[in-house]
């Protein structure tokens, strides 16, 4: 067992699950989307980027790209959220929907990341 692979897989998967958890639920209802979960998703995605730095393999480069996309989407979602709640206002259904849809885009990138991880693992075992 390679500890590096464990840590890497852990963070890639955790990024996807947190992202999924935040995305799940009625897109317009702010009550079913916890902002701390969004925060956690941003942090875990950033860590996933750091883990992929300096990897010179082809699959590593694609992994880095997907993480960059996911982080970009999630940070945008967080910015929208921060801007909307800036004056102490409650979230409107419209802004909630836009935050959630942005995180949905990030979720897609995270799923690609997981698929890459799984396919890499499978091809490794076949050898």
């Amino acid at each position: 067992m390679n500890l590096e692979k464990v840590v890497f897989g852990f963070f890639v998967l955790l990024a996807a699950t947190l992202n999924f958890g935040f995305f799940l639920g009625d897109p317009a209802d702010s009550a079913v989307h916890n902002v701390y979960e969004l925060f956690a998703a941003v942090v875990v995605n950033l860590i996933a980027i750091a883990l992929k730095l300096g990897d010179r393999t082809q699959i590593g480069a694609v992994q880095l790209a997907t993480s960059l996309v996911a982080s970009l989407q999630l940070i945008t979602a967080a910015l929208v959220w921060a801007y909307a709640t800036g004056g102490g206002d409650e979230l409107t259904p419209e802004t909630t929907a836009s935050v959630v849809s942005l995180s949905g885009g990030a979720l897609f990138a995270n799923i690609v990341s997981v698929v890459l991880l799984v396919s890499e693992t499978i091809s490794f075992q076949r050898r």
Partner: protein
């Protein structure tokens, strides 16, 4: 605020892509790979510090947003994630705007205190790792290589690739710089590469640190560029030179190679690849002695024409003594020298050094053999050991027993030359100096070697007259050398007389200012259909497609170019006619062109 962290971030993460894009100009593989390696290394090593920073930041922000706070009225009010993030950002980067949006409660201040120390540790760790990586050898070399590659790309002129930067290389480099030739230096020694920057050449000279036997390194240094016009391999290690000569011959067979060798075996191997110019200072030592034996003036002329630009005329050496010569040195040098000297009709006694065996020091001169060599009655003694101490000892010993003997010594290390002067050597040979002369002879002008190869076959009177003519026309500083091709392209103004075969060299050499005088230049050699005329005279007939090597002052060059290319100047210089330069006057004065006193 110009945040130094941001600048570092940019240096490390942004530039690599630019570098990769630009390095693709290098035609052979693996070069940009090498450059990228150091940057990837930094990225990999920065993983842990970056993750630590992210985690510390996340924990601080989360904790601050959860800590119980109060608004102005004392009602409970948590900070919210964005405000926490904002606060932690300006706190962690030591900007510190103060407590927002309300004054903090004790619980919040406790958490902030904790976070401040945590973030200081995090930043110290990250910046410390980054600085440590900046000191990393591989990374710095990668940066230096990128810098070098950029300089080389921006260099528009053709350049020479100089391998090794020892004494001989430095001399050659200095002369090349004065000849306005561009060059690039590669050496495996860090101090020597640093010396290139300190040498303050007129032109910007890129220098690359690296193993010269590494093909990728040589390609990066110049073989990968079309503008590279030649390779000069003067490394101290002859195997490295052989390697460079071979690499160049295989990858860029079109390039000219000048390589230094120290032994006959390596010379042979170099010649196996293409047609490199091999310079062997030890071999040339014997040739120099032979030339000097035949004619001190020829030796003086050859040394002068192959010295650095604008060098003063070297003093003419006294003739070497005839008689019995004693040669001391390693076996292969003794063999070469004895053969050279015997070919000049001298009697030679060779004293070879003892082969360095186990336990014995290298370069031990066989003392009994030396005693039996009868130095007391020798006309000259050559100390050709590879060890300067041994040579000094040999010279001193000879001087004590035979004060009249002519003393020749090899000065292996240039710094020792004051010692040799003090001990009273008559003729000292510095290998680096010989290499410099040989390389410059091959680089200065393609025709110069043709001239030099014929000089030793002339007698002393011819050579001293040649020196006098040169000094008379162009002064005691080394003249510039040019090749003139009398083709329709290069000499359009003279095509007519040339084709008619009625042009004499003396007519072309007249000054455009006053045709009674000659320009300040001397023709050294004339080439026609593979035949050559050494030091052609004024009466020499010229034909189309003749080639001339001319030595003289720079002003003579512009005068000659005017004669070759402008009809008006050519008419005056060759025939003494003053032709109007405008079309109108030419029409009007046709038929009665004024003739000056033609051909005295």
């Amino acid at each position: 605020m110009g945040n130094p962290l941001l600048i570092m971030w940019r240096q490390i993460f942004v530039d690599p892509q630019d570098g990769e894009k630009a390095d693709r100009q290098v035609s052979l593989p693996e070069t940009h790979e090498q450059v990228a390696t150091g940057i990837l290394l930094v990225l990999q090593r920065m993983r842990i510090p970056v993750i630590v920073l992210i985690v510390i930041f996340a924990v601080s922000v989360l904790g601050l947003s959860l800590a119980p706070g109060e608004d102005f009225q004392g009602r409970p009010a948590r900070m919210g994630l964005f405000d926490s993030f904002y606060f932690m950002s300006f706190t962690a980067t030591t900007i510190g705007f103060g407590e927002i949006p309300y004054p903090f409660t004790t619980a919040q201040r406790m958490w902030v205190t904790f976070s401040i120390f945590l973030s200081v540790i995090g930043w110290a760790y990250a910046v410390g790792s980054l600085l440590a990586l900046m000191q990393n050898r591989a990374f710095r070399q990668a940066l230096a290589r990128r810098h070098f590659a950029r300089k080389l790309r921006n260099m528009r002129e053709p350049f020479l690739l100089l391998i090794g930067y020892g004494n001989a290389s430095k001399r050659v480099a200095r002369s090349l710089d004065e000849m306005d030739r561009r060059f690039v230096v590669v050496d495996g020694d860090e101090d020597r590469v640093a010396e290139v920057d300190l040498a303050s050449y007129r032109a910007d000279t890129p220098a690359l640190l690296g193993d010269v036997t590494d093909t990728a390194r040589i390609v990066l240094a110049g073989l990968g560029y079309d503008r590279c016009e030649g390779v000069i391999a003067l490394a101290g290690d002859e195997q490295a030179n052989l390697d460079v000569a071979m690499t160049t011959a295989l990858l860029r067979p079109d390039l000219r190679v000048i390589a230094r060798s120290n032994s006959r075996e390596v010379t042979e191997r170099m010649r196996a690849f293409g047609a490199p110019d091999v310079v062997d200072p030890l071999d040339r030592f014997g040739d120099h002695l032979r030339i000097l034996l035949r004619s001190p003036a020829a030796y003086q002329l050859m040394m002068w024409l192959t010295s650095a630009p604008r060098s003063p005329l070297p003093a003419r050496r006294a003739p070497l003594p005839q008689g019995r010569w004693v040669v001391c040195g390693p076996q292969h040098i003794c063999r070469e020298l004895s053969a050279d000297l015997r070919a000049e009709g001298l009697e030679v006694t060779a004293v070879t050094e003892v082969e360095p065996g186990r336990g014995a020091d290298a370069d031990q001169v066989d003392t009994p053999a030396l005693d039996s060599a009868d130095i007391e009655h020798a006309a000259a003694v050559v100390a050709a050991s590879k060890n300067d101490t041994t040579n000094l000892w040999l010279v001193e010993r000879t001087r004590r027993t035979n004060a009249d003997a002519y003393l020749v010594a090899m000065q292996n290390r240039e710094v020792n030359s004051p010692l040799f002067t003090a001990v009273g050597v008559d003729f000292g040979m510095i290998p680096a100096e010989v290499v410099e002369h040989e390389v410059l002879a091959r680089l200065a002008n393609p025709l110069l070697m043709q001239f030099l190869s014929q000089v030793p076959h002339q007698d002393d009177g011819w050579a001293s007259e040649m020196v006098e003519r040169l000094v008379d026309r162009s002064g005691t500083l080394k003249p510039d050398l040019w090749r003139i091709q009398l083709t329709a392209e290069e000499a359009p103004a003279l095509t007519g007389p040339l084709a008619a075969g009625e042009l004499r060299l003396g007519d072309v050499m007249r000054s455009p200012n006053d045709r009674q005088r000659s320009v300040d230049a001397v023709p050294l050699i004339l080439l026609r259909d593979g035949d050559s005329v050494l030091a052609p005279r004024d009466e020499q007939q010229l034909q189309l497609d003749d080639e001339l090597l001319i030595a003289g002052r720079p002003s003579a060059w512009s005068a000659l170019v005017a004669t070759l290319t402008y009809d008006v100047t050519a008419a005056y210089v060759v025939d003494g006619r003053i032709v109007p330069s405008g079309w109108m006057w030419r029409r009007l004065s046709r038929g009665d062109a004024r003739h000056e006193d033609v051909r005295q």
